[in-house]
Amino acid sequence: MNKNLQACFHCGEAVPSNCLLSVNVDGENQAVCCSGCEAVAKLILQSGQARYYQFRTENAVKPIDEDMDVEQAWQRFDQRQSLWGSELKDGHYELLLQVEGIRCAACAWLIRTQLESRKGVDQVQVDINNGFLRVNWRPELLHLSKIAAILASIGYRPHLPLAGAEAMGRQHERRGALKRVGVAGLGMMQVMMYAVALYAGEAQGISQGAERFLQWVSLIVTTPVLIYSGQIFYASAWRSIRSGRVGMDVPVALAISIAFIMSCVNFLSGHGHVYFDSVVMFIFFLSLGRYAELVIRHRNLQTGLALARLLPEWAELLTDENAERVPAIDLRSNDRVRVRAGQTFPADGYIIDGDTEVNEALLTGESRTVVKRRGEDVIAGSINQSQTVVVRVSRDPEDSTISMMGRMLLKSQTHRSRYAQLSDRYAGWFVSVVLTLAGLTAWWWMIHDASMAFPATLAVLVISCPCALSLATPAAIASASRALLERGVLLTRGTALEMMGGIDTIVFDKTGTLTTGQPTVVRTVLDPDRRGIDAAEALRIAALLEVDSSHPVAHAFVGIPVNRTDVCDVVNQAIGVQGRVGDIDYKLGNALFTKVKHDPMPGDEGALWLADQDGWIARFDLDDGLREDVASTIEGLERKGLDLVILSGDAPHAVAAIARRIGVYQWHAEQSPQMKMDYLAYLQTSGKKVLMVGDGINDALVLSVADVSMTVSGATELANSTADFILTGDSLSLVNDVFATAALTRRVIKQNLIWALAYNLLAIPFAAAGLIEPWMAAIGMSLSSLVVVLNSGRLARWNSIHSFPDTGTKSR
């Protein structure tokens, strides 16, 4: 790009050369790119909040013109009490709003100060991760529409809290889990201190009274922890028993109950030992692990929100006389709505007036547009690219294709989250075995030497504390996920690393995953009869014509340096663009638009033609650019003996071309989201373990049913919300890195488990034989946990030293 192009002070996008707008910052004029940015920046500066620009870490989102009439649009909600949020006392309400464009902490500050300075707003909380606002306000002092207008005026677009209940429920769940962890943690610190004193007493003697007293206090602290923090294990164990299964919480519940009851019995009977410390520690570590998983899951499970964001809030409903803006959720079938160019269709329906081009990436993953004529179906969430049309709604919003997709997604996700907690399954069963052993030890000693029964049983219980085992998997996964993050891979579901081992088939989406999804010019063909224009000049003219176009095709010419002032009178139309460069009018578009008569050739359906009034000048053949390192990655994966399949919503010839180019032999074209899902189900029923790699909204469903799912950089929010791994780097070779890391992780987990088991197998017989004092057992237990943690830490270091020169799973 031209170096004299300036970045907009507000949104950071390039300032068009014909734009002379600027804002005054500390006496200096800073260019802005549009009147929207100007208005927002001026307001922020005038409010004395220039620091926002100093401290923000991300550029602002370019405001959309529609923001300007936000207040008017929201006025219809001012009297709807159901939308004010949940009622607090004294006429206060807590409103949950979803806001677009919150990107960093500076945004949160800006919103908070702007809103809190208004009369009627008491407190504002901003959730940066999820883009939520929680506003404590008084509707009698401030209208809802005013709040919306304030947000819009500083460049954040408010949305109706459609998924409010979902978000509230999640917050409730998260707070509850945090409380349980906190209580268990505080309790553990205390009880462990008393335990140290008791163990020390074992070793060097302790007065009877002090011992009793410490046991008393331990009991007093442990009981509430067990009841408060331990309740989830009982609840979930009870649920699984009632449904006739032995879930993994059953041994957990059993372990803490037995340990607690035995301690109480020993305490009351006045001889023997108490193990309240084991009880609280076990509860603390397990609930901490659960909480960590919950937080990660919530951060990524924004499916409902991601879906809601795909749909417009408003629809332009046509009544007999006039047009009216109504909330899109209020539409009913048979309504007539007008959808302008650039807007998103609010409901499923069919066109009753006008022709247009529609972007149906939602269904196909393709950003290329499809021509829709009168009578043809359109679906909610697809984007009207070119002309205003009138649509007759054929389905209520709840039954639209996208709502159905959402419901299926949520279903498969709840199904899947049941597997999410596999990581402490070993620990659970191990505990059962240990308890049985402890019981046997107690029984054996009772028969032979009653005085030895308690210390021996205690030693068995303490020495085989499941810490090392319950840490074996989570510690390794935590290290691995840190290592992956450094390489540009975000791990969202820990067990996915373990499951990578079983993967034998990889299914790729094409557009956006294997390819960049953005067209590039692969060939320029000049008209042999014309002279004076070479390929570079033709490309330059095309780039000039497309310079301000938002059409996907324009991306093909982005890299070509041009001077914006060389072009004028640009008219963007559905099927092409025309404009004047120098003294000549040019047209750029498909053959029909440029009126080129040509003999059709195979493969030139998607070609662009450049023409002036004398006829065509050049033809540009477009193609999706391949993502970085695709060929080498595919080769590497094939060498590992994995089955590779391409599933694409695109046309067969395009899929075949890509498949041939990168050497994948199995491919299926024209796949709808449902078909992709069915295909995956078919693979799975034939015993395959499938890794799905995708990016689009249309891939979300299939990602959610795959054994392991992965999204590439630039993937849609909805797809990311269902992914186990999110690749943030551009190169596809990260897929290989994930395989390598997963293999290493499994090795480390195996080592950890072997170590923990071997230690226990070795130590338990001694303990059962009464040869190990409880304090020795306590030290042994801590050491074995430490070994596991240190061994897991090696994963992170390995990763930074080695750069995975080969992607084999067996090396090292």
Partner: protein
Amino acid sequence: MTMLYVLIPLAVLLLAVAVWALLWAIKSGQFDDLDSQGWSVVLDDDQKPPQLEEDELPSESENTDK
């Protein structure tokens, strides 16, 4: 060592206070957003935004201390 009989109950009492404080803090949403509070130190200014449409004064002082 008789001091233990005073100090430990005292510790348990403090523990109860700590638990209560923690539960209160969680309930009032202080753990919901751990990122933006740190920024408020550098960002917050004593000077309030001068432009206010309906009213001249910032709303009641209670808005910041809860």
